[in-house]
Amino acid sequence: MRIIPFPSEQPLPGEDAWIAELEAALSGEQQGPSADAWRELREDVRSLAPPMDPAFQARLERELLRREVVPSRQARPALARRALARRALADRLRTVARRLILRPRLTPSSLAGHLHTVVHRPLAHRRLAILAGALAAAVAFAAALVIATPRESRAPAQLSAPAGRVPRAPQAQASPSIAPTPRASKAGPAQAAASGAASPPSSTGAASAPGRVQQLAASMTLGTSASEVQAVSDEVAQLTVREGGYVQSSNVRVQQQGTSEGTLSLRLPSAKLSAALAAIGRLAPVRAENQSLEDITGAYEAAHRQLADALAVRSALLRALAAATTEGQIDSLRERLAQARSAISRAQASVNAVSQKASTAEVEVSVLGNTHGASTGLTLHTGLHDAGRVLLVTLIVLLIACAVLVPLALVIAAVLSGRSAWRRYQRERALGAP
């Protein structure tokens, strides 16, 4: 056998130098016996493969070049298309066969389903991706709407926007209860008749403590334009009368330039306070609102005790008067009876005053004119405010969309990456297979 010439009879040099030598030799940059030997080896290796069949080469050239390969699926080279179709069909049939083997309980319907899945897999994947994207977008949009809508409804009260809606305080404060004490309600018909209008209102609220008497108060500031201060103040007064209350005092100051203001001190039935405040709040945008509650049960009970004591003294004096026999006793008892009547009157007045406090709520309404937030027209401030709201909602939508889409994208990227890695692994396994 002849000696096979091979690059470098000497032991191979270091790896880096060896690589450089090989690259230079194969690229033709290096000359000499060693480089020639490398090139000759390359030609030997290349010549081991039989040449391309001229018929195939001509057909491939005709398919790829003369018919103008275009990217559309319909215009693919027939040769490549046939090869692709044949291998794809073989793959799919193999998949079906594996499933048939692995699933002995296969029904005709499930078989049809498997076939459909295999045949339409690429299309199904595309549809699935589109569906997932649309679903994520819909979820993000819906979540944004859900979050944005309550904010919008609360915004006028919180941000003093001119929407004319009144923030309602909890029912516990809006309609406090005034309940008579058991002792007061057991005073008897005589005492009730004697007290007259002293019986407290019987309305009860959610936060009414049984047997407690409470006094309510509220204040509200309305914002409107300067020209509407008078009209709004009048409407407040009319509304107060309609609700069964009255205007205790009113002070309206309207100026052509500067701030116009109206202040009204109202007395409203406690039972109608909540509804009245809501109605007042609809007259103009509410700038501020405050409600307070004071427990006056002690004063109420003290007044009733004084009244009961005075009535008891009067009864005792009347009995003593009936039993009196001398002129001196009678004169003395009559004088004491007069004093008792005076005490009863004072106690009755006290009871009436406390009951009036309990049944009537004090409401202070301020109407401010020329406030920038009260304008209902389009101004720079309202425009900026609305723009801010739009930006805020947009930001929320984007945030929610990111919260939905980013994990979804990460999952898809992980799946695609894993699929790619698995395919690469499978290919490398094909090389390493025996």
């Binding site: 056998m1 002849r2 000696i3 096979i4 010439p5 091979f6 690059p7 191979l12 790896e15 880096d16 690589i19 090989l22 690259e23 194969l26 690229s27 033709g28 090139r39 080896l41 390359r42 030997d44 290796v45 290349r46 010549s47 081991l48 493969a49 039989p50 040449p51 391309m52 069949d53 195939f56 080469q57 491939l60 050239e61 398919e63 790829l64 070049l65 390969v69 990217p71 693919r76 080279p77 040769l79 490549a80 298309r81 090869a83 692709l84 044949r86 291998r87 073989a90 793959d91 193999r94 690469r424 499978q426 290919r427 490398e428 396994r429 094909a430 090389l431 390493g432 297979a433 025996p434």
Partner: protein, 192 residues
Amino acid sequence: MQAFVSPAESSPPQGGPALDADAFEALFRQCASEVHGYLISLLRDRSAAEDITAQAFERLYRSRGRLDRRRGTPRAWLFAIARNAALDELRRRRRTSSYQADVGSPAQPPAGDAAGNEGFEQAERRMVVAAALASLPMRERELVLLKFHGQLTNAELAHTLGISESNVGTRLHRALTHLRAQCAPSEEDQVA
């Protein structure tokens, strides 16, 4: 025997489209036989090699918009596509028979008395090279085939194989060292 075309020569001019029709045609004329030779050496099946050759060019054309010059020349892309398709084919068939397969006979030695000795010597040498190549593990054999048929640089080989360039150098060094050892004349031959 195909003429040697360096990867640099096969790359289209910079600044133009990644792979226009002219560049694709030039690449086809330069590389069709080499791709076919690489595939038939790897698959040992002429019909499969022809199918995958057609597939590789068709896929290259369809993916020409994604060609990135920084990641390799169109030639390197073409051989990467061909390699992946060939490995998919190998994976499908789940068989890698010995290198001696129905690939037909290599080039015949030239006829004639003047060239007879030289042709015979060349054929004999190629038989030895074929045997040495067949003795290589599949991965190293594939690397040698890709290097010699594809004429790719080590960087392009690294991108094609998904390994580092230094790893390519190491594996290539090992493969060619093994090839050299297999091709080295025995002591008996040297004596003869």
